[in-house]
Amino acid sequence: MAYSFPEEVLEHVFSFIQDDKDRNAVSLVCKSWYEIERWCRRRIFVGNCYAVSPRIVMRRFPELRSVSLKGKPHFADFNLVPEGWGGYVYPWISAMAEAYPWLEELRLKRMVVTDEALELISRSFKNFSVLVLSSCEGFTTDGLAAIAANCRNLRVLELWECEVDDRSGNWLSHFPESCTSLVSLSFPCLDGEVSFSALERLVSRCTNLRTLRLNNSVPLDKLPNLLRRAPQLVDLGTGAYTAELRPELYSKLGDAFAGCKGLKSLSGFWEAVPSYLPATYSICAGIRSLNLSYATIQSPDLVKLIRQCPNLQRLWVLDYIEDCGLNALATTCKDLQELRVFPSDPFGVEANVSLTEQGLVSVSEGCPKLQSVLYFCRQMSNAALFTIARNRPNLTRFRLCIIEPRAPDYLTLQPLDAGFGAIVENCKDLQRLSLSGLLTDRVFEYIGTHAKKLEMLSIAFAGDSDLGLHHVLSGCNSLRKLEIRDCPFGDQALLANASKLETMRSLWMSSCSVSFEACKLLGQKMPSLNVEVIDERGSPESRPESLPIDKLYIYRTIAGPRCDMPSFVWNMGERSALRFS
């Protein structure tokens, strides 16, 4: 094969190609491009840490600087994955410590991260600068202290909804006085107190700090000081947003906010007290993103705030906003792209607020750029879904959670098949969909027929039979992640579409009707899949094979069965099968 360009030239060209998919495409052109590309790939995203092994990654990509890993299945967020399931990052860190001494960035999601792992990170990578942990667990503030102390060039430290054991607030003090590199510091999920003086000094000397998200323990009266030291902030997460009404605090706060002219994103607002909200008004015109989902403020005050933010693109809020508040949103925020409405009382039987499907309909009418929706509500109708679908064919993410499982159209008492069908038919670019309410196999037929760009589908308490699952597996061409709970799907659709599973990242099924027998068959016939049965009741061998297993997690892999399965997880593959006999 003739080489048209010297390697260096190709490398240079490739350096402009950052997107993973494009990089993958480049590597498939020919062997020499594969070789060149793999040597100059700097960042990698592994959507399932068990799909590949550290050794395989390091063998192919010897010069990575940035690694992203995801561990547990998404339903782990809702306590459906038992503790101890897996997702340990330590083996990766220890392998990377040798292979990638120049590693700079690590982004982990739903992984078990221990203090040992954090300490190893802090000692192994001289240029380490970015650590983002989302929904991770297993570490304490001691681990954070190690990161703070040892990572000389740390720019980003972000903790999103992690479970962290809080040993002491002094981890912040472990940032050396010489540390001035921080650009983003975010720890809203930490429970405990932090040392304010350390925080203030840190914020003062990190003049490039753009993102600062505090936790609940930072009181409101400390906020003005922090803001005054960081007028260049773009993204602020307040601490506790409550205090007795003190005019001098209010005016200090107002001045401090006014000084942060570049603020684009606000969040936090723990225990927010409405009277202090207007302190933010001076910068609201520039706000693009507002997360009020921890603020138990009632609709009128929410509306007052929202009316100050005409350029809002993203809003996360509790259902206290109610339909009337969403109306106001629809009239004010014409640039809105993403809306998430969370339930304030998810386990209450009666609705505690006046939030219905109408709110979502209004927003779909008033906000032409709306793409992404997460909406918890207590009632829905096919008519509303039709309207939303008609109004917003540009939806790419639609997650609807009607709180009562199997709730029908409240007007007609019919299933919501037609409504969701309209969504998938009209929203041709829909990538993510979560279903709820009363649904028959029909909705899956619609989905299989129309949702050709759908990549992630979440199903709960829906469907009548295997036909439903079959529609999805056979029709959704772009499907990557499928997660199902409490649906009457059994063996047949799964077995009939076995090869589809190799084209997907993963399939989760819990409380369905898949038999142990079918799992074994699947595991034995499909060596490129890990078919993992999760059953805390004991080995499925101790029950008749035709009985359903509890939970099933299937994912494609080139790493074979994993070695860190706990006692309640079984791999159904060939090699594992021998262990049963």
Partner: protein, 409 residues
């Protein structure tokens, strides 16, 4: 891509099979989606045809068919009996010689009459969330399936106990009147709060959490045990699982399905805290879930429990028994040879009575306390995490607990 083949499905929502399906075409689908001939679902019309061997069962483990195939049932009962060997090895938390409440796994299958006694942990799976289409046909938003879905093995919600064996050493019977202050007449039971048999060869690679968290003990101190205020488990309706899961609407406070609605724990816990602070919940049942981690000395991994699903210490104790029983004699199935599952009787006895554990919790102040010292409500208010620790390590906790109680009152 439009599916032209109308033999695969009809828009009337009914299922058609292409001919009579002989065997599911497992791997003939190499070409992709449209080659598949599918799928005759069992018992669509509530009939008993069951080509695939999959029996529809309601949550009691009974087939929905009125004419039950008795041979199938007795076959299953055989399975039941052989696995009953393990019953004797089940985890007990209680005074030496006390018995945990009777759990009869056969209930789920053979006693259709006992509908209001829900087996805690039937060895046969009662169908989680599966219900036959005959139930499905009722399109009135009925909540039957919802209750079905509440069967859950990882987070046990106890049935009602009319009499319990207390995990915590209240002397004498548990029907004592409520007393939250210690009294001299309760003598100390010699050191055993709970018995937790432990599999001897646990993964020793696990770092026991005890080293760091364990505060100094004072050997030789006697424990004053505060008796519990007995609570009728009926009080908080949302913890009981109505076996009569018929079409009556949800009770005033309804039981929770694990992981539904799909809200992350962080958000749930934050909401719970916030609403408490806002004093909005007077008179209402506790909001949300309250997940705390439970660790056990020597066990390879943690578990999580939702404290709000229990209304009394005893429910919690039973649940934990079950949860951690898989760290005892081979219950959770090993990857190794089947022989390991059965231990000799004498070894069993040793395990049951040999090691002694107590249940402790870390409270909001970071102190480790014995569980059972304070009223249940106060306990869940302040409990941040649980730990099943060796009772030898726990000596010295009780006196601090007493002090705290006194200081509070």
């Amino acid at each position: 891509m439009c599916r032209g083949s109308s033999s695969l499905y009809s828009l009337g929502g009914k299922l058609l099979s292409s001919g009579n399906l002989m065997s599911p075409p497992l791997l003939g689908v190499g070409e992709g989606q449209s080659n598949v001939s599918v799928v005759s679902s069992p018992s669509v019309d509530g009939s008993c045809q069951n080509g695939s061997g999959l029996k529809e069962r309601n949550y009691m483990g009974l087939s929905d068919c009125s004419s039950v195939d008795s041979s199938a049932i007795s076959g299953l009962a055989e399975e039941n009996k052989s696995s009953l060997n393990l019953k004797a090895t089940e985890l007990r938390l209680g005074l030496p010689g006390s018995q945990s409440p009777e759990r009869d796994p056969e209930l789920c299958l053979l006693n259709p009459g006992k509908l209001d006694e829900k087996p805690l942990f039937p060895l046969l799976p009662s169908k989680d969330g599966i219900y036959s289409s005959s139930q499905k046909a009722v399109v009135t938003g009925n909540k039957r399936g919802f209750s079905d879905a509440m069967d859950n093995f990882s987070e046990v919600k106890s049935a009602v106990f009319t009499e319990g064996n207390w995990m915590f050493p209240t002397v004498g019977s548990d029907s004592e009147t409520s007393q939250s202050k210690p009294q001299g007449k309760f003598h100390v039971s010699p050191g055993v709060n709970a018995i937790l048999p432990v599999r001897p060869s646990l993964n020793s690679g696990v770092k026991s959490a005890s080293a760091k968290e364990h505060s100094g003990t004072q050997p030789g101190m006697k424990k004053d045990i505060v008796p519990l205020k007995p609570r009728a488990s009926n009080e908080t309706g949302h913890n009981t699982i109505g076996a009569s899961n018929n079409n009556t609407s949800a009770p005033a406070a309804k039981a929770q399905v694990v992981g539904w609605p799909p809200i992350r724990s962080f958000r749930k816990n934050t909401l719970a805290t916030t609403s408490k602070n806002n004093d909005e919940v007077d008179g209402k049942p506790g909001p949300g879930a309250l997940f705390v981690k439970v660790s056990m000395d020597g066990a390879p991994y943690l578990r999580k429990v939702d404290l709000r699903t229990y209304s009394a210490y005893q429910e919690l104790s039973s649940a934990l028994e079950k949860m951690f029983s898989c760290f005892t004699i081979g219950q959770c199935g090993s990857h190794g040879a089947p022989g390991r599952e059965m231990l000799s009787e004498s070894k069993l006895r040793d395990l049951l009575h040999g090691s002694e554990y107590v249940l402790t919790y870390e409270d909001k102040d970071g102190d480790w306390m014995l569980v059972g010292d304070v009223p249940w409500e106060m306990f869940i208010d302040s409990c941040k995490r649980l730990r099943i620790m060796k009772s030898s390590d726990a000596i010295g906790l009780a006196p601090r607990a007493m002090e705290k109680c006194r200081n509070r009152n």
